[in-house]
């Protein structure tokens, strides 16, 4: 009787867990080894600094700058698609919060961030985004000092959401805010409007056009610093994000209880942005901007402010676009090239492309 063929015993052959699937799986959110590996390989490699590297669940800040006030801002970012011409959600997350802090005259120093990942999200895309996040931090001069990651089941979130909180310190003497606009003040925009809104619309790909318009996403804290270093009497700083230039000015007009009159011809708008808006029936004054600021200050300083801005990065195309005219319940008027005037309202809901 012959022996049945016996397997050749070549040594143990354990089914090791797959180390690199190339995409986020639920295990990455468990808090265990996979989470640590993800944080080390994707985040720490790109965002290392002394505070973050201590590896605790919270950060201790020993900076105490004296005669200054702490300014804090928080933001959530859910932009879709994640990548668009001129930027991505990573850059947007950093710049959005850096700018919010800077708009109160503070110098942003630290960020915290929470990353909510959807099961199935490709890791190489996450790496690109964290690269961009890190690069934006370097450009702005801010450090990420605390972070968190969570993973949702597929379908329970949308690829990647990022929430950021930013901190900075502002001089005690500053009085900058939406309620500070005074009659007679000049209204200045740091550059052309509408680019971000068009870039994102184009990246969505369902409106069938190519314009090559790039998002203007940028950190504006250095521009703000240049204005403050020039000892200008800044009343209001605000970045016209969601709702666009028009909505943001209406907010300011209401906060300050003043009327603002704009000169339509002075508002800088890039030609491809204008053309795309005409094509789709969108209004560039209501499109989001992520790298522009509105500055309101006494009219006799407007000329100098424009010079300072034009000499700084991201302010090269600064323009005076209007003035604050009188105390009232807060309306924004637009003077057309025809000498006529119309009221600019806040954006009612979502801006919809027109057919009429």
């Amino acid at each position: 009787m012959t022996q049945p063929d016996m397997p050749v015993l070549e040594g143990p052959n354990c089914p090791l867990p797959i180390k690199d699937r190339g995409q986020i799986v639920i295990g990455h959110g468990s808090g265990g080894q996979m989470t640590h590996d993800l944080i080390r390989d994707v985040f720490q490699r790109r965002l290392s600094n002394a505070i973050l590297d201590t590896g605790n669940d919270a950060a201790i800040l020993s900076e105490a700058p004296g005669e200054k006030r702490l300014v804090v801002s928080t933001d959530a970012h859910i932009v879709s698609p994640l990548f668009f011409a001129g930027g991505d959600i990573g850059r947007l997350a950093v710049c959005g919060t850096v700018n919010d802090v800077a708009m109160l005259g503070a110098e942003p120093r630290f960020l915290t961030a929470a990353f909510i990942l959807e099961e199935g999200f490709p890791i190489h895309e996450l790496e690109l985004i964290v690269d961009s996040f890190a690069q934006a931090c370097r450009e702005a001069g801010v450090e990420l000092i605390a972070a968190d990651t969570k993973v949702t089941e597929k379908g329970k979130s949308d690829k990647l959401f990022i929430s950021t909180t930013g901190f900075g310190w502002a001089d005690n003497s500053l009085q900058i805010g939406g309620e500070q606009a005074k009659p007679g003040d000049a209204v200045i925009i740091s550059g052309p409007v509408g680019n971000h809104g068009i870039a994102v619309a184009e990246a969505r790909g369902n409106l069938g056009f190519t314009s090559k318009v790039r998002s203007d996403t940028a950190p504006l804290n250095h521009l703000v610093k240049a204005l403050l270093d020039a000892k200008l009497d800044v009343h209001v700083l605000r970045d016209p994000t969601r709702g666009g230039l028009a909505t943001t000015l209406v907010e300011i007009a209401r906060q300050s209880q003043v009327n603002i009159k704009l000169d339509e011809e002075s508002i800088p708008i890039d030609k491809p942005v204008r053309k795309t808006c005409e094509l789709l029936g969108l209004d560039p004054l209501y499109l989001a901007n992520e790298g522009k600021l509105i500055l309101i200050l006494p009219a006799d300083q407007a000329g100098q402010a424009v010079r300072v801005m034009r000499g700084a990065r991201y302010g090269e195309e600064a323009q005076i676009i209007g003035q604050v005219i009188g105390a009232s319940k807060g309306q924004v008027w637009l003077k057309t090239p025809y000498g006529t005037t119309r009221v600019l309202e806040m954006l009612a809901g979502e801006m919809l492309p027109r057919i009429c």
Binding site: G208, F209, S211, K275, E278, L279, G281, R354, I355, C356
Partner: protein, 86 residues
């Protein structure tokens, strides 16, 4: 119903059995359906609405409009209907 802007046809091509045109609007490009203007040639201008070319810019172009303005100065109540309809 009326959001239409003029653009220049760069080229025409077939897609899924439909005549299409690549139209340029001062640097912004769009793929436009030319089924309603089958005779259109590259280099001509079309009026585009909702992704379709509605009409081809007439040869006499905008100068016609300016001519109207010139003629209006000599508006005469005795002009016949034929003269009016151009």
């Amino acid at each position: 119903m009326c959001l239409g802007i003029p653009g220049k046809v760069i080229n025409t091509y077939e897609q899924d059995g439909t005549l299409m045109a690549s139209v340029d609007f001062d640097g912004v490009q769009q793929a436009v359906c030319a089924a309603t203007t089958p005779e259109v040639q590259a280099g001509q201008y079309v009026l585009v609405h909702a992704g379709f070319a509605l009409n081809v810019l007439s040869d006499t172009e905008a100068e016609e409009t300016l001519k109207i303005l010139h003629d209006l100065q000599q508006f005469n109540a005795n002009l016949t209907e034929e003269d009016k309809i151009s």
